[in-house]
Each structure stands twice: as structure tokens, then as C-alpha cells.
Symmetry: C2
Subunit: 170 residues, 2 copies
């Protein structure tokens, strides 16, 4: 049964935004939840012409460690997810390609955040990572990337698996 939203107010807002939503439950009871209200994000499984996966090693403030991630980030105002995917790939790794969206993934039960999953084939290195990105491109073979997914040491494992699924590489 769907719940009816009775109201919403901003509880916290800076870079992160938390809203407090009140719902009427099916039994009539009122209850409220804190929901993280975020812009959508993108992540890209980018493959080179010889089918290596282009990843990016970068420091992540949550896990406080250097993490080997799929290129990706926020969809900025006025940008399509596809434009954001291409921009992030280029800025973070220096590789360029033509990302194609293969699906979306819900990020969190208590967030409005949706992740757009992209695949980009035959990517080529056209530049160094953008100045200030503090990122290092790393190439893995598909089996190595699969092993990395199993390790869980990346924050877009859902997109990684989804993209390999799309490519029939699972």
C-alpha cells in the first residue's frame, strides 16, 4: 500500500540536503523520515579499444581511503546525465568516448538519489586528468575488474555489475 505524504520540510542544507517527510501510514498513523535529497549521479563503465576497463584511483572522504572507482559524479544543473558521464570520464581519467545509458539504480531507501549507469566502448586517451582532480587513471582487464567488484572496495559496485550485465560479461 502506498503511503500518503502529509508534508516535507528542510532539516539541513549545505552541500548535503536532508528533508523531513511526514507520511500517513496505511493504518492512519503519522510517521516521519529523514530523507537525503540529492541531485542524480552518473557512473561509467568505460572500455578501451582493447577492452580494458578505465578506472580512477582517488581519495574518498567517506571511507577515508584511496579507492579504485568507476569514473562518475554529479549531474550538474543544465546537463544531461550523458553529458555528465562524458565530462566526468574526461576530467577524471583523460579518456574520451561516447557513453550510452544502460539503466538506473536506486541508491538508497532514504534518499531521492538515482544513479545513471553508463557504458562507453572504444574510449581513447586524449588528455591528462583535469588539473585539480587529484585522480589517477588505472586500467584493469575485465576479469580483474570483476575481482574488484567482488572485493566491494568501490562505491558504484551496483553500476559496475549492471554494466557488465548489459555487455553480457557476467
Amino acid at each position: 500500500v502506498l503511503w500518503r505524504r502529509l508534508g516535507e520540510r528542510v532539516a539541513y542544507e549545505r552541500f548535503r540536503r536532508v528533508v523531513n517527510r511526514t507520511f500517513e501510514l496505511p493504518g492512519g498513523q503519522e510517521t516521519d523520515f529523514e530523507v537525503l535529497d540529492g541531485p542524480d549521479t552518473v557512473a561509467v563503465l568505460a572500455l578501451t579499444e582493447d577492452d580494458r576497463v578505465v578506472l580512477v584511483r582517488e581519495f574518498r572522504p567517506g571511507p577515508e581511503d584511496l579507492i579504485l572507482e568507476l569514473p562518475g559524479g554529479l549531474v550538474e544543473q543544465g546537463q544531461t546525465p550523458r553529458e555528465a558521464a562524458r565530462r566526468e570520464l574526461l576530467e577524471e581519467t583523460g579518456y574520451d568516448g561516447a557513453p550510452v545509458e544502460v539503466g538506473t539504480v536506486l541508491h538508497d531507501a532514504y534518499s531521492t538519489w538515482v544513479k545513471h549507469a553508463f557504458v562507453a566502448k572504444s574510449c581513447r586517451k586524449v588528455a591528462e586528468p583535469a588539473e585539480g582532480e587529484l585522480t589517477e587513471p588505472v586500467l584493469l582487464s575485465v576479469p580483474e575488474f570483476r575481482e574488484h567488484l567482488r572485493s566491494g572496495r568501490l562505491t558504484d559496485a551496483d553500476v559496475g555489475y549492471r554494466a557488465l550485465d548489459h555487455l553480457n560479461l557476467l
Copy 2:
């Protein structure tokens, strides 16, 4: 290169907790990030004796829709992830089993949150979902569940894929 944490202060705290962490970047510049500080969670791929996947249909306050989810939730104080997985499975679906942890997944680059991925084989229905849970158990075949993972309409797709990977069912 690892960044050095200079400080941390609480920016918001109620059910959700947001902390502000200041880091010294490799070039000496100081920058701060808002990090969602959350307890760990668990999610379980539970299989019945005839290899159907036990899911739970429930309203989710972020997407504001009825979502077909893996059973799971917070690891509560004093509980092991394994105990939390068994409790959530039982409370949300009425099925009981012996969850085994098969890995962990980082949830978010800007969160300390870690998801524990569990598999529970040969689960049996021993009760109705706990009163007040407002959840409905739903059984899917493994191919149907794989199709559901592809749809992205669940918040633990990473754990779902990881668990199928562990079981050699991808």
C-alpha cells in the same frame, strides 16, 4: 596519495548524522566535505529450499514508492551483522534461515556506511512478517530476480549481484 584529516565536527544529527571533515590535500590546500555518518547495514539474498528468492515489498520514503527489496536494515547496537541479517529476514518476511556473510560493499563516497552482503540458503517460512513492519514477502525465481536487478528498482542491487556472484548464479 592519502589526505590527512585535520578535523571533524557534527553538522547535523537526528536520525541521520552529517559530519563535516576537513582534510589537507596533497598540495597543502585545506578542503572540507560533508560526510554522512551511519551505522552499518545488512542485506540478505535468502533462498527457499526450492531456490526461490525471498524478497519484501515495502514502501520506501526516498523513492516514495513500493519497492521490491532484499530483506535488510540497520545493524543495531550490540548485534553482529549476522544477527541483524537473520532478524531482518524474519521480521520483514517471516522466513528463517542461517545467513552467511559473503562480502561487504562501500555504499557511498561521502558516507562511512558499509553494507554487509549475506546469503541464506534453504530458508523456511516460520511466521508472518512482524506486526507493524507493513511488509509483504514476495518469492521470485532466480531468473526473475536477475531481471529485477537489471531494472534497478531496488536499493541493494549491489548486494543482489554480489550474492548471485558468490553463488555462481550470474
